[in-house]
Amino acid sequence: MAENKRIIRVMVGLCSLFLALVVYLTFIQLFKSKSLIANTYNRRQVKIEENTARGNIYDRNGVLLAYSEKNGEQQERIYPFGPLYSHVIGYNSKVYGKSLIEAAYNRELLGINEYSQVFGMASSSNYPGRKGDNIYLTIDHELQALGGELLQGRKGAVVAMDPKTGEVLALVSSPSFNPGAKELEKNWQVMVESQDAPFLSRATQGLYPPGSTFKILITAAAIEKGLENEIYNDKGSIVIDEREIRNSAGKAYGEIDLKKALAVSSNVVYAQLGVTLGEGSLKDIAQRAKFGKEIDFDIPVSASRFPHDSMSKTDLAESAIGQGKVLVTPLHMAMITSGIANGGVMMKPLLVKKLEDPDGKTDKDAKSAEFSKIMSKDVSEKIKVMMQEVVVSGTGHNAAIQGINVAGKTGTAENELSVKKKAKEHSWFVGFAPVEDPKIAVAVIVEYGGSGSDTAAIIARNIIKKYLLEQKTSENKN
C-alpha cells in the first residue's frame, strides 16, 4: 500500500533527525567542549578555581616562580620575583583575567586534562581540595635575573636560547610591571596610559628595525649567489636612486671583501648587495627565516615584517641594511641567530619544558622540533666564521670573552627619534657561543641605546659568559 510506504519513509526521516541529534552532540563533545568549558562566561570555571589549588610554576632547575596561597576563602597568586616574569608568566587576576602562561596553561594549572574531560567523573567541580598541574619552564632563572639586572632602568629586551633545542633560556622585557593581583588593580590605569608601555612584552611583541643584525641573512643570500669572494669598493657613502646611504660616521673602508664588510658593518657594501641580489633573492631568504609568518609559541608572538609588495631599488638597499620596512621581534632575531648556530636549521621556540601532575608524574614533555631550514650547513658554517671575525676584529669586540670563541653581529638601528636627532639609535647585538659547539644564542636590544657595539654587546657578553660558566660547573659536578 502506497500509504504504508510513505509512513515508513516518514519514520526513516524522523530517525535520521534523531541521528543528527546524536551526531551533533558527539561533535560538540569532541570538538567544542574544550573552548566551552574554558569560556569566561561559564561560571563552572569559577567553581573549579575556588576548589583547586592552582599549580606552581618553576624554572628549568626547579626555582619556584609562581604559586598560590590560601587567603581565607580566596586564593592569592604570588610571584616571588615580582616584575621579572610578568612578560613570561603573565598575571592571574579576578578583575583583569589571565595572560600569557597563566592563560595558555589555565586548564593544566587547574588540573583539567583531556582524560578527565572525556571521562567526566573526575572533573566534578564540587570537590574541594583538587590540585592542578605544576609547570616547568625552559627559563634559567639565574640568566633571567641577570638579564633583568643588566637592562635595569632601560627599555629593551634580552632573549637567550639553546640553539639546538629551541628552549628559551631567558626572555626579559623591560620596563615591566608587578603582576600581583592587588598591585595590578591599583596600578592598571596608570600603566595602560604610561608612555613607557610597560604592558608591551618587548621580547615577543615589540617590533623593531633589525638594523645591521639583518646583514647576517643578507650574507647568507650573497654566499648562496656565489658572491662571497667579490671585492667591493667602499667610499663611505653611496647614492641609490637619490637616497644617500652612509656608513657609521661616514667612514670609508676602501677595497674590502664580504667578510671584512660584515666585520666593519659596511652599509655601503650591503646596500649595493641588496640591489645586486634583487627582490626575489631578498624575499626568498626572508621567507625562509619566517618573516611575516606566525610563530607558534606558548605565549603570543608578533609576526616579523618584510616588505611584501614590489620593492624599489631604495627599498632593496634599505632592507639589506635592516632599515626601511623591515621589522623584527627580539625573540625572532634570537631564533634566526640560533638557526645559523645550529647549521642552518631554526628550531621551534619552547617555553614550557614539562608538566607535572600533583603526584610528581610527568604529564607532558616538550619535544624539540624543526621550524624552518634557513640555509644549508655549508653556508651557515661560512657565516659562523665571518660572525666570529666580527667579535675578534670588528664592531663586536666588546662581546669577546677570554678563552671562548664568540660569534656575533652588532646593529645600530635608526628609529623615528634618532632620525630627528632627538634620541640615539636602538642598540642591537645578536650572537652565540662557543662557535665550535654552540650552547647559547642571544639577541639583545636596548631602545635608544646608541651603538650596538657599546651597549647591547656588553649585555650579551655577560649573559653568554654567565651561562657557559654555569654549564661548566654543572658538568664538573657530574
Binding site: 502506497a2 524522523l14 530517525c15 534523531f18 541529534l21 552532540l25 567544542k32 567542549s33 566551552l36 566534578s124
Partner: protein
C-alpha cells in the same frame, strides 16, 4: 501480545535505574533525605504496578508504556535532583497524568466513531485561544496560560491533540469532509475542502504565533505537512504548503521581533552572551561540562541554566548523565516513535490510523525541535520534552496522547471500521 518474558528484564532494569538513582540522591546530601527515599520508592512501585497492570489486563501494547516509564524515570530523577519540591509536584502530575491515561484509554475504546465530533475539533481550540487571549496570564513573555483557581494551564497543549483529531477526520475520506451533500461539482467540492483545511490549519498556527507559542506553531505546521504527505490524495496540496515555508519564514522574520531575536541568537549567541544569548550558551556550557559519561547525579551545576527543569532539561541530563545519557534519551524517543509507527502500520481503522500516526509524528518532532534547540542544532523554540520536562500541562497532554495511542494499539478495538481508501 508477545508474552511475559520479553518485558520482565527491561522493567527490572528500569526499577534498578530508579533504585540506584534515588539511593544516590538519598545519600549525597549532608543528611539523609527521607523525602527523596519516599519519592523513589513510590516512583519505582508506581511504574512497576502500571506496567504489570497493562500486561495482565492485556490492555494494548506493552512496550509503549515501558519506553515511556524509562523517560519518566529519567525526568523525575533529574527534576528531583534540581529541586526536590518540584520533583514531588511532578510526581503528583504523573499520578494525574496516569489517571488521564487510563481514562482516555477506556473512554476512547468505548466510544465509537470519533470522527462524528469534527466541528468540536475545529472550534474547541479556537475557543481555547480566545479564552487565553482574554484571561491569559503572561508567563515568560508568552501569553499562553490560563489560571483557574490558582491552577494554571496551557490550553495550546490540548489544541495540539485536537488538531490531530481534526486532521484524522479530514483525511479519513480526504477532501470530502465539508459540503458532503451539496450540489456543487466534485471538483469544486475538493477545492473548497482543501481551502477550508488550510484555513483551519493556518488559523491555529496564527493564534499560536500571536501567543508566542513558536515551538507549538512549528510543530503543528510540520505535523500537518507530514500527514498531508502521507494521506493527501495527490501531492499538489503538499507541495503548495511546503512552498509556503520559505516565504512564511521570511515574513515572520520581518514581522516579529521575537522571531528575529531567536534567529540571531541561533546564528551567533556569543556576541550577546550576557543577555539574549545567555540561555543557550549556558546550556552549551552544561552539555560540554558533562563529558561523555557525565559528572554524576548531583555533582554538576545544571542549576546555572535558566529554565533547566522545563525546556532545558536535556542540558541537565547531558551534564550529569553525560552525552551517553543524552543519547540514551534520544534513542528512547526513537524507540517510542518506532513502536508507535509499527502499531499504526497494522491498524485497519483509517481514522485511528491517521490519529495514531499524527500522535507518533508529534512526539518525534517535538523531541527533535526542543533537543535540537537546546544543543543549538536548530533555532530554539520554547517547547517541552514530552514525559521528561517538568510541567503539568505538558505531562498530562502527553499522557492523553499516549492513552489514545495505547487504545489504538489494542487490536480488539480495531474492528470498528474497515474503510480503506486510496
Amino acid at each position: 501480545m508477545l508474552g511475559e518474558t520479553t518485558f520482565r528484564r527491561p522493567l527490572l532494569l528500569i526499577a534498578v535505574f530508579n533504585i540506584i538513582g534515588y539511593s544516590f540522591l538519598f545519600l549525597s546530601g549532608e543528611a539523609y533525605n527521607w523525602h527523596i527515599a519516599a519519592l523513589g520508592t513510590f516512583v519505582t512501585l508506581l511504574i512497576c504496578t502500571v506496567c504489570l497492570f497493562i500486561i495482565k489486563r492485556n490492555a494494548g501494547d506493552e512496550y509503549l508504556f515501558l519506553i515511556v516509564s524509562m523517560l519518566l524515570s529519567i525526568g523525575l530523577l533529574v527534576i528531583s535532583r534540581l529541586n526536590e519540591g518540584l520533583g514531588i509536584k511532578q510526581f503528583i502530575w504523573v499520578l494525574v497524568g496516569l489517571t488521564l491515561f487510563f481514562s482516555v484509554y477506556f473512554v476512547y475504546i468505548r466510544v465509537s466513531k470519533w470522527e462524528r465530533f469534527t466541528y468540536l475539533y475545529i472550534f474547541l481550540p479556537f475557543a481555547f485561544y480566545l479564552i487565553t487571549l482574554v484571561l491569559g496570564k503572561n508567563i515568560n513573555g508568552a501569553v499562553n496560560w490560563i489560571s483557574i483557581g490558582g491552577f494554571t494551564f496551557q490550553p495550546s497543549e490540548l489544541s495540539k491533540i485536537l488538531f490531530i483529531f481534526f486532521l484524522a477526520s479530514y483525511f479519513k475520506q480526504p477532501d470530502m469532509l465539508f459540503l458532503k451533500d451539496s450540489r456543487y461539482s466534485e471538483k469544486t467540492k475538493v477545492i473548497v475542502n482543501r481551502v477550508l483545511l488550510m484555513l483551519v490549519t493556518y488559523l491555529n498556527i496564527g493564534f499560536l504565533v500571536i501567543q508566542r507559542e513558536l515551538g507549538t506553531a512549528v510543530l503543528m505546521f510540520l505535523v500537518f505537512l507530514i500527514v498531508l504527505y502521507v494521506y493527501g490524495r495527490d501531492m499538489r496540496t503538499f507541495f503548495l504548503n511546503s512552498a509556503l515555508i520559505i516565504p512564511g519564514l521570511l515574513a515572520s522574520y520581518a514581522l516579529f521581533y521575537h522571531i528575529r531575536v531567536r534567529m540571531e541568537v541561533w546564528i551567533d549567541p556569543w556576541s550577546d552572551i550576557t543577555d539574549k544569548g545567555y540561555q543557550i550558551t549556558q546550556s552549551l556550557f552544561a552539555i560540554a561540562s558533562g563529558g561523555f559519561f557525565g559528572t554524576g547525579i548531583g555533582m554538576g551545576r545544571p542549576d546555572m541554566v535558566p529554565a533547566v527543569t522545563t525546556d532545558f532539561i536535556f542540558a541537565a541530563i547531558c551534564e550529569e548523565l553525560g552525552v551517553f545519557g543524552g543519547v540514551a534519551v534520544v534513542l528512547l524517543f526513537m524507540l517510542l516513535i518506532y513502536r508507535g509507527i509499527k502499531i499504526i502500520l497494522g491498524v485497519k481503522n483509517r481514522f485511528n490510523k491517521i490519529l495514531g500516526f499524527g500522535i507518533a509524528v508529534m512526539f518525534g518532532l517535538q523531541t527533535f525541535i526542543i533537543i535540537g534547540g537546546v544543543i543549538k542544532l536548530i533555532p530554539l523554540t520554547g517547547i517541552t520534552l514530552p514525559f521528561v520536562s517538568y510541567g503539568g500541562s505538558s505531562l498530562t497532554t502527553s499522557f492523553i496522547a499516549l492513552g489514545i495511542m495505547q487504545a489504538i494499539s489494542n487490536t480488539d478495538m480495531d474492528e470498528a471500521g474497515g474503510e480503506i481508501y486510496g
